[in-house]
């Protein structure tokens, strides 16, 4: 059954082409250079948001057509076929069908990889069959040529019945022709199914086709779906209430197709690949068929039984080094700029609540978010490079065995590693995990990976209470080993907790791995940097609103109610007195009985309470309490004060190495980041479901933190380590 052809479409050219608006959907397999092409077409004229009702990212860009037409391009998530295996793929299909809460596109551009044309033509054939004006961007023709693969684009045009534009997106080649084709395609006949069904098969699926048309599908979509539904296990949600009527017709169609001798489950794949292999045979010449490719040679090392893991550790160490060390100058610069801004605003305003609100609450609150930005950007830069180069897929392959032992997918490894920098983008990176339970389990444990915000706490306490002595034959310092132990503690616990989740709340088998290993290629710097910019924008927009609100609230709690201090009191002491009698101080006194079994007093209690919005607030709050002014984790004065602090009742030292160890363990486990909570809510499903998971995450981590710190302190005391 051939899809019925439609009459010529396209509105009559307007008198002024510049007023014409065209919506284009950009679709294609993963690893085809689609994002690079999108960025090359739209430049910086992009907006990032979400598709309606889902957490799937929606990237839209604008460009001008050859005659000034206003062209809007929506970059859809990569998909191998028009069958959703993940939320990303489902939204791509929804847009193509007009069921994603926005109008159907006027034009579809399918980005096909010239080096892997046979597989890419599967998706091309599906898009053609939908009957929308379609242009095929045959991308990466340079890589294909380098591999000895020549594609006859002209012959391909005749085979597909649609414009085929060779492009090299990384160099901007072919883009002008592509831009023109996006407009002129509207004046061409609409594409149709590129292969034909026998009369037997046409008759077998006809009742299903008729049912789909009766339930509102366009004829072209009904013809496409009638084939596809034979292969898929379940009907997608976009059929809505019609699923009850369609499902039995699908079963009947399968029986009818089987009666013709065909396998209904594999019929669509046989037809499409039968067609695509014929097209490739007529349009592609591979001069190096069977020869070893560059990717083969690299994989021989990267996936080597011994060298593969060694190289992997080296790459991860490099990523770590970059995130922790190379971003420091930028972070210092941001911190300095925030400080200058605060000083400037403070000098312009008289003393009072408004000054305190703006300087401490707003600028201080926003600053605590902005200071992370270089680290976030560095993390996404590395992730982008690893993904674009093709290495990320190899890393998931290498780690799959380890991850499956705890019930996770190999793809979970990358978000977990990213959590060492910051849990916010790490949780966002879980979108690549197709199975919802695997994705949720990963989200639940990512915050256990010791993020950069914990570093100030570790640095302060280790600096104050762990002596700088050499250990392990003089190769390492005790301080360094202690730091490493904190990181290992979080990592091991994350794997253990993931195993628990996958055996309880998120019980279920780990989805078997089916992962394409893309060909290696040089990452496109422009595309990578644009992606980094998009991620930075999203981070600022989402985390900044929440943490700004909490910072203002914390400022208010620390400021009110006001208390008079005796005349002659030093400014730092006066600040400590006001803090003790503020709402936050009262909260600390209320908390004190709860934290006393851990060895803490109200001061640490207040600092812990204050740092629930952001961990590093612990250090600055302790500095304030102990009157050392603007303290950071390297403040010698603060370390000395902590070491010398005496309990006025007993005369003994208030803080000991045991208490410091327990406090670090508390910070390893506790979820003390409002930004992470906000992102968890969104990525876990949003709304009530998202909040439920975020609450579970917060509660289990707080419980883990409390009882682990309790075990350390009380256990240490029992063992005589007071």
């Amino acid at each position: 059954m051939a899809a019925p052809s439609a009459p010529r479409i396209g509105a009559p050219p307007p008198n002024d082409a510049s007023t014409r608006r065209i919506r284009v959907a950009l679709v294609g397999n993963p690893n085809t250079g689609k994002s690079t092409l999108f960025n090359a077409l739209t430049g910086m004229r992009q907006r990032v948001g979400n598709f309606a009702g889902v957490t799937v990212e929606r990237v839209e860009g604008a460009m001008r057509g050859p005659n000034g037409e206003k062209v809007t391009i929506v970059d859809l998530p990569g998909c191998y076929a028009l069958s959703p295996a993940s939320p990303d793929e489902e939204i791509a299909l929804g847009v193509m069908r007009g069921t994603a809460g926005e109008p159907m596109p006027d034009v579809v551009v399918v980005v096909a990889d010239a080096l892997h044309l046979e597989r890419n033509l599967y998706l091309v054939s599906q898009v053609l069959e939908l009957g929308l004006p379609t242009v095929v961007a045959l991308n990466q023709v340079d890589a294909a040529a380098d591999a000895g693969v020549d594609v006859d684009a002209v012959a391909l045009i005749h085979e597909l019945g649609a414009p085929v534009i060779p492009t090299i997106a990384t160099r901007g080649e072919g883009l002008d022709v592509l831009r023109r084709a996006m407009v002129t395609v509207l004046d061409l006949p609409r594409p149709t199914r590129p292969f034909t069904l026998s009369s037997e098969l046409t008759d077998a699926v006809a009742p299903l086709y008729d049912t789909l048309v009766r339930h509102g599908a366009r004829p072209a979509v009904a013809a496409h779906d009638a084939l596809r539904l034979l292969a898929v296990p379940t009907l997608e949600t976009w059929y809505g209430d019609s699923r009850g009527a369609i499902a039995p017709m699908v079963d009947e169609a399968r029986i009818a197709v089987a009666a013709t001798g065909a396998n209904p489950r594999s019929l669509e794949a046989e037809l499409r690949y039968g067609w695509s292999s014929g097209v490739v045979a007529r349009t592609v010449v591979n001069h190096n068929e069977g020869a070893r490719t560059g990717s083969d040679r690299i994989d021989a090392v990267v996936l080597h039984r011994v060298w593969g893991p060694v190289l992997f550790i080296a790459v991860m160490a490099l990523v770590f080094q970059g995130i922790f060390t190379w971003s420091q100058p930028l972070m210092t610069g941001v911190e300095w700029a925030i400080g200058q801004l605060g000083d400037t605003v403070g000098s312009l305003l008289p003393d009072g609540d408004l000054r305190g609100l703006l300087v401490d609450g707003v600028i201080g609150g926003v600053g605590s978010v902005l200071v992370f930005l270089p680290q976030i950007a560095m993390l996404f830069l590395f992730i982008g490079i690893l993904e674009d180069s093709g290495y990320m897929a190899r890393a998931a392959y290498l780690m799959d065995r380890l991850m499956r032992r705890v019930g996770l997918h190999g793809k979970s490894f990358i978000p977990m590693i990213s959590g060492f920098a910051c849990a916010v983008p790490a949780i966002m990176a879980t979108r690549t995990i197709e199975e919802r339970k695997d994705r949720l389990a990963t989200i639940m444990v990512v915050p256990l990976m010791s993020c950069s915000a914990r570093l100030p706490v570790y640095t302060l306490l280790i600096g104050a209470f762990v002596p700088p002595v050499a250990v392990l034959g003089g190769l390492f310092s005790l301080q360094g080993v202690t730091m490493l132990l904190m990181y290992l503690l979080g990592t091991v616990t994350a794997l253990a907790v993931a195993a628990v989740f996958k055996r309880t709340l998120l019980r279920g088998p780990v989805r078997p791995m089916i992962l394409e290993m893309p060909a290696y290629r040089w990452p496109n710097l422009r595309t990578t940097l644009q992606n980094v910019w998009h991620r930075a924008q999203m981070f600022l927009r989402r985390a900044g609103t929440v943490i700004l609100s909490c910072s203002v609230l914390l400022w208010a709690l620390a400021t009110y109610p006001r208390t008079d201090v005796p005349a002659g009191t030093t400014p730092d002491k006066a600040h400590e007195i006001r803090l003790e009698h503020s709402a936050l101080g009262h909260i600390g006194k209320v908390i004190e009985p709860v934290v006393r079994p851990l060895g803490y007093d109200w001061k640490i209690g207040v600092s812990i309470a204050a740092s629930f919005a952001a961990r590093e607030v612990f250090v600055s709050t302790m500095g304030t309490i102990y009157g050392v002014g603007e303290a950071d984790e390297t403040s010698v004065a603060l370390r000395d004060r902590l070491r010398s602090e005496v309990n006025p009742r007993t005369g003994a030292l208030r803080y000991t190495p045991l208490i410091a160890l327990g406090l670090m363990v508390f910070y390893v486990y506790a979820l003390m980041c409002i930004s992470t909570v906000a992102v968890t809510v969104r990525e876990a499903g949003g709304g009530r479901i998202g909040w439920n998971w975020a609450i579970i995450q917060f509660v289990y981590m707080l419980g883990l933190a409390y009882f682990a710190a309790l075990a350390v302190y009380q256990g240490g005391r029992l063992l005589g380590f007071q």
């Binding site: 076929a81 295996a85 597989r119 599967y122 296990p233 489950r265 594999s266 994989d299 190999g410 791995m513």
Partner: protein, 83 residues
């Protein structure tokens, strides 16, 4: 059959193939979702595949692309070795 003549290869699980082997896919006996995804990627009944690596996860080349398949998948795919 004359003495010493080669026997026709027997069908086996893909998971039993070694690195360097070539085979034709006979049947996909893994889960429905997985079978659907494999067919979309070109690993379908009648397709020719080459085994690149045969460790925990198997690497195979099919239709010019390289796929990593977990043991749960390869255990359910029946192939006819051709080399």
């Amino acid at each position: 059959m004359p003495t010493g003549a080669a026997r026709a290869p027997l069908a086996c699980r893909l998971g039993d193939c070694v690195a360097g082997a070539s085979a034709t896919v006979v049947a996909l006996g893994c889960g429905e979702n997985e079978a659907c995804r494999l067919r979309e990627l070109g690993l379908m009944e009648g397709a020719s595949i080459n085994v690149v690596d045969a460790r925990h996860c198997m690497l195979v080349n099919v239709r010019g692309s390289r796929l990593a398949l977990s043991p749960a998948i390869t255990a359910g795919i029946t192939v006819l070795p051709t080399r």
